[in-house]
Structures are given as structure tokens and as C-alpha cells.
Symmetry: C2
Subunit: 129 residues, 2 copies
DNA sequence: TAGATGAATGAGTAAGTACTAAAATAGGCC
DNA sequence: GGCCTATTTTAGTACTTACTCATTCATCTA
């Protein structure tokens, strides 16, 4: 059975009667939603969310957010139960995703959250039940 | 080499001199940040982010957000290039994560975004450069 | 410049994820 | 009850990810 047939039955159930015209119209509405939802930002948004969707990386961003200052790679090391290499991988992923900025300071590297990262954490905090 | 030794060298580089006391104090500060970051919400936050961090699921939430009304499972079917089973999986994950609510209406199931989902999408939209 | 240290990168691997297909569940209708 | 349809669940599989270890790159210092 095609998804259009099922949609037709659904619209019949909802609005009483429903011919092909109404189905076509609803389909057009839905495809408009789909087009609006699937713009060029979709992929970028998903990669930002993927970057945050990991305990190690999320914790790094949280720590930086709370600290409200830049921190050195070496300061994460005592706090996270993973190798320095894993921390470096995590920091790079977060930076690539636009959630952190990296700054060289001699032989040390310092990281800080971006506005995007802060906005997401604030949204999470503000919508907690 | 321990991470504490590296931290000591870092603090020396930064603040000039640095004895064990200063290292211990900075460590305590960092661990306080860590404790604040790693509260009970961490796990839940990560699972919310994981739920959104997938193109199919993200698109579902976006569509519902733009639609600003509840939609039937059968209305997603023509818009997403995956099986009905995959759509159902996605909807369940999103519901479990607290991003959607599910309502039975006869033999149809209708979904709607939660305040948490809307907050996250708005944060993404508002922080786009 | 050689040696040491901080951090990033590459390769490999164990665990997790996203899908499909098939079976199960649930509602409505005869 | 028996049948049809909408959706969910289960099982299986290809793919992706998150880590560790080893290596490389970069920067300071003696």
C-alpha cells in the first residue's frame, strides 16, 4: 500500500470526505514543510548536535561554559577519565563543529566556548523540567 | 608524566612561580567546575542531544516545529526516504528523549514537539552566523 | 641545534547506531 | 470473533563512532 493511500484514508477519517484534490493539497503543504525543514542548515545543525552528543565532549563544553574563561588542554586532563589523545580528538571535533575556539599561547593551547555552544547549553538549562 | 606535573608547569608559565599549594588550589577549582558540569542532568542532556543528532530524527522535529501542529505518522511517510518502521523507531526515540509527545487518536498516532525541542531549535536558529 | 614537552594526528578496534524486513500488537468495523 | 490497517517491536546487519596506542608536529629551552 502506498503512503498516499494511507494519507487519503487519514484525511477521510479526519475531515469526513476527501477526494484526490484534498490529498494533493495536503501533500503539497507537507512538502512545503519538508522543504523549509530541509534547508542548507540541516546538515550543519546535525553535525553541531552530534558534536555535543557525547559525554566526554559535552562535559568539556559544560566545564568551559561554567568556567567562563579559556582553559588549557592540560586543565581538562585531570578531570576526564580518557587519554590526552581522546581529549585532543574531542577538542578538535568541537572546534570543527563551531562550538569552541582554539588559541595558541606558546606551547599551550587554550579553548573557549562559542556563542553557539552557550546558546545550546542555555536552551538545555532553560527547558529542564 | 602525570597530568598534575603538566598542570604545575602550566601554572608556572602563566603566573610566574607556582608551588604545590597553588597547584592544589587550581586543581580544587577545576574539580569544582567538573562537579558542577557533571551533575545528574548530564546523562539526560546527552541523550536529548543524541536523539536530535540524526538527520531523520532532526528533520522530523523540524517539520513538527514548523508545522506548529500535531502530525500523524502517516504524514511523515511521504516526506522521509526511510521505511515506516524507521520512522516509528525515530518517533519513539524522540518521545523517549522528551522531545515529542505522542497521542492516540483512534487508529492513528499523532505527534507534537515539546517545549524542550522548540527551545533547542530556537537556540540553533538564533545562533546561526 | 638537540632534547624535552604539549598537543594533534593516524591506524586499529570494540562498541554503538540506523536502517530494513518480518512478526507482533492494537484499534475499528463487519 | 475474524479481518483489515496503522503502528510498534524484534532481530539481524552494514555502517559509524569513541576510544587507545604509536607516531608526528610544534614550541620552548639549554
Amino acid at each position: 500500500m502506498s503512503s498516499t493511500e494511507r494519507l487519503q484514508r487519514y484525511l477521510s477519517d479526519e475531515s469526513g470526505s476527501c477526494g484526490d484534490t484534498e490529498v494533493a493539497q495536503r501533500l503539497a503543504e507537507l512538502e512545503e514543510l519538508d522543504a523549509a525543514a530541509g534547508g542548507p542548515d540541516l546538515e550543519a545543525d546535525v553535525s553541531v548536535l552530534s558534536a555535543l552528543a557525547n559525554e566526554t565532549r559535552y562535559k568539556i563544553v559544560r566545564i568551559l561554559h561554567i568556567a567562563d574563561e579559556e582553559l588549557c588542554v592540560c586543565e581538562f586532563s585531570p578531570l576526564l577519565d580518557v587519554s590526552d589523545s581522546a581529549i585532543s580528538h574531542a577538542l578538535s571535533q568541537l572546534t570543527d563543529a563551531g562550538l569552541l575556539t582554539r588559541r595558541k599561547d606558546g606551547k599551550w593551547r587554550k579553548y573557549r566556548t562559542t556563542a553557539r555552544a552557550n546558546a545550546l547549553l542555555i536552551a538545555l538549562d532553560g527547558s529542564r523540567k
